[in-house]
């Protein structure tokens, strides 16, 4: 029996053991198991924020506390436990959303602080708002009742188990589909994710809200079990304990969250009598794992797990690029509003961009005809990449206008451009190194995949179908750029030229009508440049995509482009056919320097 089947059997056996646990576990161990499951719920939620999205939360105990206190207070106000619990969870989720808002523009440092301050505030409020929370003395809650009969604490095991299993399943589905890939893409390279249409705002706040829902559920269920609550359950070191669980198990993996929560809940409960040492051991464990085992216990087995999920490449991938490109298959080309068949001109009008005192772009105007390859050359620092950044909305110009067809690009945020059919690659390569080859390309389809967080969690047939079709299409894009190899390996493990190819496939997966390639030939060998030239030509001819190409490899530019624009110190100094540009005196001067040095400089512009 191989990988997935064995994993499935193991999961079924575990689930069976958990279902039968109340029959054979002694009461105390049964209680510990309940606590483990509660922490699994919280830490799975935390993993969504920390492991998958890469945002640190040092205040998750605050969300647990909100779920718990809200549930207790609402039942004391007369609501049934089964009504109070979801209300508390909802409240926690809403507050998580609010806490996630500052995450948008903050560096990890500030976010860690906001969550820390949040956790501390919740604890202080619980401690000091005596009229509401009864302060240090805490609050008691009546036993939850079902059909008029009060439940024993151990009966709550069932809802806890149900939420833990359901929560894990939901998290698994999210991480394997479009919303989860968006979260991971933001973690790996926010800039690249944005250019592919991932809204950092939506997804980071969503991750926090979701995470808070998990934590709030754990809190609300916890009070159902123990029927008492006080602020001692939620000080800072509890938040840090959740972090420790995620780290020890292995961040960025749901299995890690389960392992970490199980070990660090189970062990201390069984090692009673060392209460005062628990925090110390927790701190030492956290530090030791961060330094020595950064991928956690699960990470030790990581490579093997990954290898068992190989995705076979379609047969046409072997050897020559696919004869039938992705265009021929599927629904034709409909990237966003309008079709690529429509002739849409890119017009850049008098765009200026300064950085401090440096003028990176000085009133640059440029018109790019549809279905052409337009070259953009110039010495280093001439403003080529800045122009790309301005067009793709990563930099705000000081003045000017940019339109594609009738769309005013300057009124679009960066993460809307993918939907308009604009894609780019980066000079310094912005792949998502820890995502697999296939996942990288799938992120390129983010803007047009009809899979939402809700449909992913529910696993609706439509979303499954969309995901399956997306995978097939992604493989075709990989074949299109000539990628041969295992699409299930992390991109970071591949050689540079392959990473470039994957970045290109990812940009093509946007189905762009305008594609901006920033030095795609940098670092490639002679043969690889030849192959690249062939692919770029096919992008124009077969896909009908307009290409703007920045390159220092003149052979590539002059061999491919209909029109070439030359920038120098932010000023457009020449434009025309490759032949005209090559002979232009300004261009020669810009590349070769003042005319005193003609002899030494001949042939330098390559």
């Amino acid at each position: 029996m191989t990988g997935p089947a064995a994993a499935r059997l193991a999961l079924l056996l575990t689930l069976g053991a958990l279902l039968l646990a109340p029959l054979w576990l002694p009461p105390y161990h049964h209680y510990v198991l309940t606590l483990i499951l509660l922490n699994v719920i919280t830490v799975v939620g935390l993993a969504l924020v920390m492991g998958f999205t890469g945002l640190v939360s040092l205040g998750h105990a605050g969300f647990v506390a909100i779920g718990a206190y809200a549930t207790v207070l609402l039942t004391r106000a007369g609501l049934s436990y089964w009504m109070a619990l979801p209300a508390g969870v909802l409240l926690s989720g809403c507050i998580g959303y609010l806490i996630g808002l500052p995450a948008l523009r903050l560096q990890p440092l500030y976010l860690a602080t906001v969550t820390w301050g949040f956790g501390q505030s919740v604890w202080l409020i619980a401690l000091n708002w005596v009229s509401l929370t009864n302060g240090q003395n805490g609050l008691k809650m009546a036993a939850p009742a079902l059909a008029g009969r009060p439940l024993a604490p151990e009966d709550l095991y069932w809802p806890v188990l149900a939420v833990a299993v359901g929560g894990l399943l939901a998290a698994y589905r999210v991480t394997k589909t479009r919303p989860g890939r968006a979260l991971m893409a933001l973690r790996e390279s926010e800039v690249a994710a944005m250019t592919l249409g991932v809204s950092a705002r939506a997804y980071k706040t969503l991750a926090f809200a979701l995470s808070a829902i998990y934590a709030g559920s754990a809190g609300g269920l916890y009070v159902g079990v123990v029927r008492y609550i006080n602020p001692d359950n939620f000080p800072f070191h509890v938040s840090l304990l959740y972090v420790t669980m995620a780290v020890v198990g292995g961040m960025g993996s749901l299995a890690g969250a389960v392992v970490g929560a199980t070990m660090l809940t189970g062990l201390p409960e069984l090692l009673r009598g060392f209460v005062e040492y628990r925090e110390l051991i927790g701190g030492v464990l956290l530090l030791a794992f961060l330094v020595f085992v950064p991928h956690g216990l699960v990470g030790i087995f990581g490579p093997r797990i990954r290898a068992s999920h190989r995705v076979p490449m379609p047969p046409q991938a072997a050897g020559v690029p696919a004869p039938s490109g992705p265009v021929a298959s599927g629904d034709g080309r409909s990237p966003g509003p309008g079709t690529a068949a429509r002739a849409e001109w890119l017009r850049i009008t008098e765009v200026t961009k300064t950085f401090g005192g440096v003028v990176a772009l000085d009133q640059v105007s440029l018109v790019v005809a549809p279905h052409t390859i337009h070259g953009l050359i110039g010495p280093n620092g001439s403003g080529k990449t800045t122009l790309f950044n301005v067009v793709t909305r990563l930099e705000e110009p000081d003045g000017g206008a940019i339109t594609l067809g009738e769309h005013d690009l300057l009124s679009c945020p960066a993460d809307r451009l993918a939907a308009l059919g604009i894609a780019r690659t980066f000079q310094n390569l912005e792949v998502f190194p820890r995502l697999t080859v296939l996942e990288n390309v799938l992120v390129g389809m983010h803007a047009r995949l009809p899979v939402t967080m809700t449909s992913a969690v529910l696993g609706t047939p439509a979303s499954r179908r969309a995901e399956a079709e997306a995978r097939a299409e992604a493989l075709r894009w990989l074949a299109f750029v000539g990628f041969q190899g295992d699409p299930a390996v992390p991109v970071g493990t591949l050689p540079f030229a392959r990473q470039r190819a994957i970045e290109l496939a990812r940009a093509l997966a946007v189905r762009p009508r305008l594609l901006l390639l920033d030095e795609p030939s940098a670092g490639l060998t002679f043969g690889e440049v030849e192959e690249l030239a062939r692919v770029i030509r096919r992008i124009r001819d077969e896909l009908g995509t307009t290409v703007i190409l920045v390159a220092h490899t003149m052979r590539l530019v002059f061999g491919l482009c209909e029109t070439v624009t030359v920038l120098d110190h932010g000023i457009k100094i020449a434009e025309g056919s490759p032949l005209e540009v090559r002979r232009h005196p300004e261009v020669i001067r810009a590349y070769l320097g003042p005319s005193e040095l003609p002899a030494t400089a001949s042939g330098g512009a390559t």
């Binding site: 440092l109 500030y110 906001v114 949040f118 628990r278 030492v284 956290l286 961060l290 330094v291």
Partner: protein, 291 residues
């Protein structure tokens, strides 16, 4: 201006001057490494705790205790750098932040185990005799604490801005590779920065020790200094100092005129508001985004 208001502001400034020392410790590490040291508060507590034990239990003379504590805690700072920062220098920032939080927890729970529950006050360094200046009454102790704090900030400012060593530190914070290329021993400078930051925290711990109970979780004070630094601008030393003073005053005003039990909650509210509205702080410069 009413006497109470003025009195509140003055005592707020005293508190703020202590925050300023703590904030400097945060900011100098942040500038050099982009790391927020979550163990800073525990280092502060360690300073107060070692001082208390050395003076009241071992019977070490009063002022020499200060020097011993500063040196001992500076060494602890070095240790933190060696264990939580250096091995993780190439890891994501969030990992380093978690590591410092882990170190903080180790220090805090370690002290709790060793010192159990022997809480006490550190004897004051100046008399509690009140001085009346117009409508304001201030004790010699508070005045002295504020004076020492201001002096420390000044010395630190001179060191950072007017010495070769300070220039090397600033160079290292802005671009470690370039600093290394021009012959600065970056590792040594980083160690020095962590040690210096720890010594500043210890000084703050000793200064505040006569005013609050010395106990294992007194490090919470550092959170407020941090808020002060954010308020003023985390990438500017003068900003951090001004922000800390401002926070001391705000905190006292809230405590006296609004709510004492929730003044810390208000402080966190301010933190979140500042981060949302003006992430670079009141005096700080916005940081450039790189593409």
């Amino acid at each position: 201006m009413s006497g109470l208001l003025l009195q509140t502001i003055v005592s707020g400034l005293t508190l703020g001057s202590i925050y300023a020392i703590v904030a400097l410790g945060f900011v100098v590490i942040y500038q050099a490494t982009r790391v927020l040291n979550f163990a800073h508060g525990e280092v502060l507590m360690l300073g107060a705790m070692i001082g208390l034990v050395l003076h009241t239990q071992v019977g070490f003379p009063y002022w020499p205790t200060f020097f011993v504590v500063l040196i001992a805690v500076a060494l602890v700072g070095l240790l933190v750098e060696r264990t939580a920062y250096a091995p993780l220098a190439s890891s994501p920032l969030s990992t380093v932040i978690m590591a410092t939080a882990a170190v903080g927890q180790i220090i805090r729970s370690g002290v709790r185990i060793v010192q159990a529950e022997q809480l006490s006050f550190f004897p004051p360094m100046f008399s509690l005799e009140p001085i009346v200046i117009g409508p304001v009454v201030i004790t010699r102790l508070n005045l002295g604490i504020a004076a020492i704090a201001v002096g420390l900030v000044a010395i630190f400012g001179l060191l950072f801005y007017a010495t070769t060593l300070g220039t090397a530190m600033r160079g290292t914070s802005q671009n470690p590779t370039a600093a290394w290329l021009v012959g600065i021993d970056v590792h040594r400078i980083l160690s020095l920065i962590w040690a210096l930051s720890a010594a500043l925290a210890a000084a703050a711990g000793l200064l505040i020790a006569p005013l609050v109970l010395v106990r294992p979780d007194m490090g919470v004070i550092a959170i407020k200094a941090f808020v002060g630094a954010v308020l003023g601008g985390f990438n500017s030393l003068p900003g951090a100092v001004v922000g800390s003073l401002l926070l001391g005053v705000i905190e006292n005003l809230v405590g006296v005129f609004l709510t004492n039990a929730f003044k810390d909650v208000v402080v966190f509210g301010i933190l979140i508001a500042v981060l949302l509205i003006r992430p670079s702080g009141v005096l700080g410069r916005p940081e450039a985004r790189r593409v």
